[in-house]
Amino acid sequence: MTDSLKDARPQGSIDYVAFENSERFRNLQHRRRRFVVPLVVFFLVWYFGFVVAAAYLPEVMARPVWGSVNLGLVLGLGQFVTTFAITIWYVGFSNRTLDPLGAELRAELEQKARA
């Protein structure tokens, strides 16, 4: 078996700089960033906010919410919930929106490489 990647490295017939500046590629780049950046900011702020609260406000985190389950535990489990939710959301977005755009551009590049 040969490694498909080894031979697939394009041999320079493509003008990548022009391709990168093409509107369709910029569109893909832009849409990915517009989706990913706010999510990253959100989960980092939420995670570090939680950590700082746990480090400096332990008595607040110790407040009971339900039986012996306290606020710290609820917020900690909340981190699990948001992680799962962000994962599902991102995958849905990628499958629906990014993948078709990427596949289109890839087909175009393959055609250019063959020409």
Binding site: M1, T2, D3, S4, L5, K6, A8, R9, P10, I14, Y16, V17, F19, E20, F25, L28, Q29, V36, L39, V40, F43, L44, Y47, F48, F50, V51, V52, A54, A55, Y56, P58, E59, M61, A62, W66, G67, S68, V69, N70, G72, L73, G76, L77, Q79, F80, T83, F84, I86, T87, Y90, V91, S94, D99, G102, A103, L105, R106, A107, L109, E110
Partner: protein, 544 residues
């Protein structure tokens, strides 16, 4: 049987080794080793090319690879270390679970697919794509080896502690022999099976580990009427801390030093996306889409597992008790095995311990193949042979590297016996986040990043992280330090270097790039941007 009765039964078992049944334990261990060896031998038969050996021929599906990622990631640190940390330190141990899981969002959103699209075998492929090949490759290979080595140490510590508990081996010599046997087995696995064999072992092991932990979790919940609050009350009732409910709130371990808590949290969340053996798993699938699918599978498997650890940790605190755990041969790392003994007697203890042992073997094998690939592909083939060597020679070098790394891990593993594994792994995470993550993110997202920036960031991040660890309380100044409290050169007050070394890694990458005189090739940068987003050149050509 009441919790007190179970603890009494356990104490009797420790006092009377016959009840802990080392023969049963060893039989279950041997059965596990035999089964996994058969898997490895069968999977290893088709290892012909370098791509086969390093990436399993890119033949794994997303779900399979997701299980393998979970297998790589859910190391002894996650199972033995976190359960122990929660059982002893309560809420503060829970932070490990949260950090280790949330970290996957960095990998999923920022790194996984883009890395998959621009690289071939290793992290260095991506980092050196648009920069000066040789120096960047060497630097990336060195940081890869360093992270793998730290991670290996933690696994070795886990193996020694686990087996000493099971076989009642308490003396240094016996534990050293155990570590040597683990190291020897791992070398065998990786030599025979390559990436494909290692991946199958990971898949089987992840499956068993999650099932085993799941069964124990349900069992603990049944005993507590499926009520989390009741479980917490039971843990508090059996707690020796004052006040007793201190285990439910943050601060038990890090109360005196909240900055250390934050430093640990930074290392945990930023480390995953820089772990070379995790990054390597993005190359064992055929496309970026499968890489994404595998990360999603991994996130759900890992998340479910960490929810189990919360129950298991407090369950161990309730049913076994922190004092009993700390006094046992394996120390804090033995909470999970002791809980299984309290729940299901010697047979469950044997099974759970065998799973934990398989976990260690598999993770060690995964780390070793990553380190060996990096050395053979990045240093030997690209730098020493300047890309002119033949792939067969590269695989031969990789195999020899496996043996060298195995021996180093054995020697190092003997040195770190008795440390908490989750804590040791956190150090590996800190090194990964300081040395690798800045360069990965800059390469993928910042056009102005240069070779000098990459070198400063990788060497600076790696060096500062290691120096801070050496001058931290981990090495000296406290009774639990590696050198004890007789010597004190702990100039850095925190146990985890992350809060200093990670920002420093980013800062050095930025300054290095700004002061760089060399201009990088804009064509390569454009090519990298295009390929990372479209997957062109990295996927098998679409058929028309």
């Amino acid at each position: 049987m009441s919790a007190v009765g179970l603890v009494a039964a356990f104490e009797a078992a420790v006092a009377e080794p016959a009840e802990n049944n080392p023969v049963l334990n060893i039989s279950i261990f041997l059965a596990f080793v035999a089964v996994t060896l058969v898997i490895v031998i069968r999977a290893g038969r088709n290892n012909r090319t370098a791509a086969d050996y390093y990436t399993g021929g890119r033949s794994f599906t997303g779900p399979q690879n997701g299980f393998a990622i979970a297998g790589d990631y859910l190391s002894a640190a996650s199972f033995l270390g976190i359960v122990g940390a929660i059982a002893v330190n309560g809420y503060d141990g829970f932070l490990y679970s949260i950090g280790f899981l949330v970290a996957w969002l960095v990998a999923l959103l920022l790194v996984a697919e883009l890395m998959r699209n621009t690289g071939k075998f290793t992290m260095a492929d991506v980092l050196s794509f648009r920069l000066a090949q040789r120096p960047v490759r060497v630097a990336a290979a060195i940081t890869t080896l360093a992270v793998c080595f730290f991670y290996l140490l933690a696994q070795m510590a886990g193996a020694g502690g686990l087996v000493s508990l099971l076989l009642g081996i308490n003396d240094k010599l016996g534990q050293s022999i155990v570590v040597t046997v683990v190291g020897g087995l791992m070398i065998l696995y990786v030599l025979i099976g390559g990436m494909k064999g290692t991946t199958w072992v990971q898949i089987v092991k992840a499956f068993l580990l999650i099932i085993g932990a799941g069964v124990m979790t349900v069992w603990v919940l049944v005993l507590n009427g499926f009520n989390l609050s009741t479980l917490l009350d039971a843990a508090v009732a059996n707690s020796a801390t004052s006040p007793a409910d201190a285990i439910l709130a943050p601060g038990l371990q890090y109360g005196g030093n909240p900055l250390d808590f934050i430093s640990l949290a930074i290392a945990l969340v930023l480390g995953t996306a820089g772990l070379p053996h995790v990054l390597m798993r993005f190359y064992t699938v055929p496309s970026a889409r499968e890489a994404r699918r595998s990360v999603v599978w991994a996130i759900f498997l890992i998340g479910a597992f960490y929810l189990f650890t919360l129950v298991l940790g407090f369950g161990a605190a309730a049913l076994v008790g922190a004092d009993t755990i700390l006094a046992s041969p394996g120390g804090v790392n033995s909470a999970a095995p002791l809980l299984s003994l309290a729940l299901g007697g010697p047979l469950l203890l044997g099974l759970i311990s065998a799973i934990a042992f398989a976990t260690i073997l598999a993770v060690v094998a995964g780390l070793t193949i990553t380190a060996a690939t990096s050395f053979a592909h990045d240093i030997y083939a690209s730098v020493i042979k300047k890309g002119k060597g033949n792939p067969d020679g590269e695989v031969k070098i990789a195999r020899r590297t496996v043996v060298v790394i195995g021996v180093l891990a054995i020697v190092g593993g003997i040195g770190v016996q008795g440390q908490n594994i989750a804590f040791l792994v956190a150090l590996a995470f800190a090194v990964a986040a300081s040395a690798n993550l800045p360069t990965i993110l800059y390469s993928l997202f910042w056009r102005g990043f240069t070779t000098r920036g990459a070198l400063w960031s990788m060497y600076g991040g790696l060096g500062s992280a290691i120096l801070l660890i050496v001058f931290s309380p981990v090495f000296s100044g406290t009774p639990t330090s590696m050198f004890g409290d007789g010597v004190d050169f702990a100039l850095y007050p925190l146990n985890n270097p992350g809060i200093v070394s990670i920002p420093l890694g980013f800062l050095l990458g930025w300054i290095g790039s700004l002061t760089s005189t060399r201009t990088e090739d804009p064509k390569l940068a454009a090519e990298m941007a295009v390929r990372s987003l479209t997957g062109f050149g990295a996927e098998k050509a679409t058929e028309h």
